[in-house]
Amino acid sequence: MQFTSTEVIIIIILATFIFLLAPLFLLIYIGAYNVRKKKDLEEKRNMQLEFESELLKTQIEVQEQTMQTIASDLHDNIGQLLSLTALTLSSINLQEPQKLEKKVSESIGLVNSSIKELRGLAKLMNGELIVQTGLGKAIKQEIDRLKKIGTYKIKVKNELLDIEISSPNKDLIVLRLLQEIINNIIKHAQASHIEIEVYMINDLLYLSVKDNGIGFDYETAKTQNKGIGLSSIHNRIKMIDGKINIQSNSSDGTLTTIEIPYP
């Protein structure tokens, strides 16, 4: 096959064009890939910021919860004990020495009870300190708070008391999740019985809370913001790559199960 000079020129022009087009496409691809890389990095940074801000929010909420517990304990327990002490002491009549010893010893007993309550309160301190002692102990304290209310029959299985591993950020979030679930039970469930289980299987932490309350329509609550903090719970679970399952009906109450990769 013979080519004419014009055909050869056309072939060369076309071939050169193609050979220049190939690097051009490569550069366009690299440029586009670079833009995507930048976008991904930006998203990652934003997610990190979001995580940090959510963590801070959680920390504040845990602190608020602690302050509320302290306030109600001061008012309901220590305040009452000290009022009773003051009443007992003021009722002492020096003219009746036979009752004096009894009333003083009663007052000493009341003051000792107040001191014990105060020590209990001091232990609460703030959220971070609670978590520093370990998630198991923090959960125990939260359950103790619930027990103090006295309204509920509580069954507990806490297998985290003796574990060595910890993850401060996740611990804080798990603690806050438990607080939110307990608060929802107190505020809305009208329950009399609560079962709390927390345990680990391999690298997964499980937290389940079951009550025998009136339940709620989970699907409706999810779409409408009903003030039970569902979106916040879901958001926090998602942040730590966890899973949540809520089963609720009016006859059996509510069962909330949370699964989190841990530590």
Partner: protein, 219 residues
């Protein structure tokens, strides 16, 4: 005429390099200015020898390709060194190959005939090393700032020039012998390639200058 345009393009690139890389103390920037000066001098002497005195200037270009291979290999090494610790190994391959093919060609046909095999093999190797650079760049976790990344544009110019010159290298002897009338098209192809190479290099010098300004303003 076309040869003189080529010299003007090369001279423009040299002037831009001198202006834009004036305050750059990096070895590569100094080598760039030196190399571009050699390019202009060799092209001018080659042009005068060929057009003015009708003398064979192949030996001159045989000397020039030594500088070309050394400079491009060093430039690719500088670019790759930021992405991999095997840059020296990768960039020594084209250089060693160059030495072997160069000696072989001089041994087989002497110094007065142009070492075309050497430059063809070298072009292919430079294209491969450039592709390795882009591959590593894609794999690198951090994105690059294209407006200030001088190395990226320098390597892009190398890729355009050596990949584009494949056609020139493939057709030059075939056209010279069988289609002497069509031979001129290759001169235009070379002109376009030179224009691409030196204009992208000028852009890389601009990026270098921007980068330096950014660095000095951040201190």
């Amino acid at each position: 005429m076309i040869s003189s345009i080529n010299i003007i393009i090369e001279l423009s690139c040299l002037i831009m390099a001198v202006i834009l890389l004036k305050r750059d103390s990096l070895l590569f920037s100094k080598l760039t200015k030196g190399y571009l000066a050699i390019v202009v001098i060799i092209e001018t002497i080659g042009f005068i020898m060929s057009k003015g005195f009708h003398l064979n200037n192949a030996w001159l270009y045989n000397i020039f390709i030594i500088f070309e291979a050394a400079y491009i290999s060093h430039g690719l090494y500088v670019a790759l060194n930021k992405l991999t610790n095997k840059a020296l190994v990768i960039c020594s391959i084209p250089l060693i190959t160059f030495i072997i093919t160069y000696i072989f060609e001089i041994y087989t046909h002497g110094f007065l005939k142009f070492n075309s095999i050497t430059i063809n093999v070298e072009s292919v190797l430079f294209v491969i090393v450039s592709l390795v650079y882009f591959h590593l760049l894609i794999k690198h976790k951090d994105p690059i700032e294209l407006n200030t990344n001088a190395q990226f544009w320098w390597v892009s110019a190398v890729l355009f020039y050596y990949f584009g010159s494949t056609i020139y290298n493939l057709f030059i002897y075939f056209l010279y012998q069988d289609f002497p009338k069509s031979y001129a098209i290759l001169i235009y192809v070379m002109l376009i390639l030179n224009l691409l190479l030196y204009s992208i290099w000028i852009y890389s010098f601009i990026c270098n200058s921007r980068q330096r300004k950014l660095l000095s303003s951040s201190y």
